[in-house]
Symmetry: C2
Subunit: 221 residues, 2 copies
């Protein structure tokens, strides 16, 4: 569907930059940097240089370093929303236990993929870091995308484990939802346990399997 013409346009955009290429380049560079080292640890000069832009470009496009950070957060929130919405809408309301379990597994699976896919590696780090010490707007933005999924998870748990109170359901939902983040947060420690430099796709698969079976056990009581 994509002819040579469009490919050329895109190539030109990449090479010489049109529209807001600097703006987008700054965001593209900043996300992995903020994710890896944290907001304060990253300097505006380093970001600008890596993006091939002048220091003042940050102030021009985003007002301040913090503005750039927020722009990164918004960019990630959009991507995350689309990644999670795929799961939500391909299935209807779960009617019985089996459907509820399947839906939960697909949600947790989606989280696993988000946390492990190399494409999204940069911003999964960003999210985890921000989740740990939430700043103003970002937590609000992020929650707009996470809340509906969380609600669905709670609904499924209510179907599978009707004996649980609401606060117990919330707690369980948080645990299931949070498990995929364990492999992100404890990454360095885990790599040591496996005797490798860094986690590989094989280990991600192992995690997905174990998490999946744990979700089943948690719901099929």
């Amino acid at each position: 569907m994509e002819g040579a013409y469009m490919r050329e346009i895109r190539s030109v955009e990449r090479t010489y930059g049109s529209m807001n290429s600097t703006k987008q380049e700054l965001i593209a560079v900043a996300i992995p940097e903020f994710g890896k080292h944290g907001f304060e640890a990253v300097g505006t000069r380093a970001i600008a240089e890596q993006a091939g832009a002048a220091l003042s470009a940050i102030a021009y496009h985003f007002g301040s370093k913090h503005g750039l950070y927020l722009a990164c957060a918004e960019h990630i929130a959009e991507r995350l929303a689309t990644a999670l919405s795929q799961v939500d809408y391909e299935r209807g309301e779960p009617k019985d236990k089996a459907e509820a379990i399947a839906l939960c597994k697909s949600i947790v699976d989606a989280m696993c993929r988000i946390m492990t896919s190399p494409e999204s590696e940069a911003w999964s780090l960003f999210i985890v870091r921000e989740q740990q010490n939430p700043t103003d707007a970002l937590s609000l933005i992020g929650k707009h995308t996470i809340d509906p999924v969380f609600k669905t998870l709670g609904h499924c748990i209510a179907i599978c484990r009707p004996e649980l109170r609401e606060d117990e359901r919330i707690t369980l939902a948080a645990l299931l939802f949070g498990m995929p983040t364990v492999m992100r947060n404890a990454r360095a420690g885990l790599a040591r346990q496996f005797g490798v430099e860094d986690l590989e796709p094989v280990h991600h698969r192992l995690f997905e399997q174990q998490i999946g079976s744990l979700v089943e056990k948690a719901l099929d009581c």
Copy 2:
């Protein structure tokens, strides 16, 4: 047991400083600051001021800001080791499945307590943060205290779930061990779900319960 004499000594120590009171005060101030805001975000001037010491005291006692950070890590590693060793040694080798499950639960419970106790709140934040982007010496120090516990966990899992391969056991151990950290890492998001400003002891108890039952389900297949 503490007479006026000792109280006076202590008062003198506080006021004029003897031995290494400034040194210890600097560590005591730095741990929660580094934990809350991260290494780069915390200023040496702020730490010194809060500790009632001069800026140069940091350079004198620890060589540099990074030296202070390492000293904090060592201090925490000691405390963590004692907190976890209580669990390890009060029980012998687990001989049957029931004993293994009980030992696992006590380990995970200990982690929960470490993650939630107000006393250790400051350094649980520090640990989680460091675990996320590990720096030189600290990860080595921390692992010396965590590895034995992790090994015990793997041993218990081998007893309960003999059908699992070694890499699967490691994965499961990491998940069980990591669950208590979920409530730390996702703290802000969780508080929103519960509709409170910050997590309260009630919520911590809820987590401990749900985690406990999840551990049982994971092992009692």
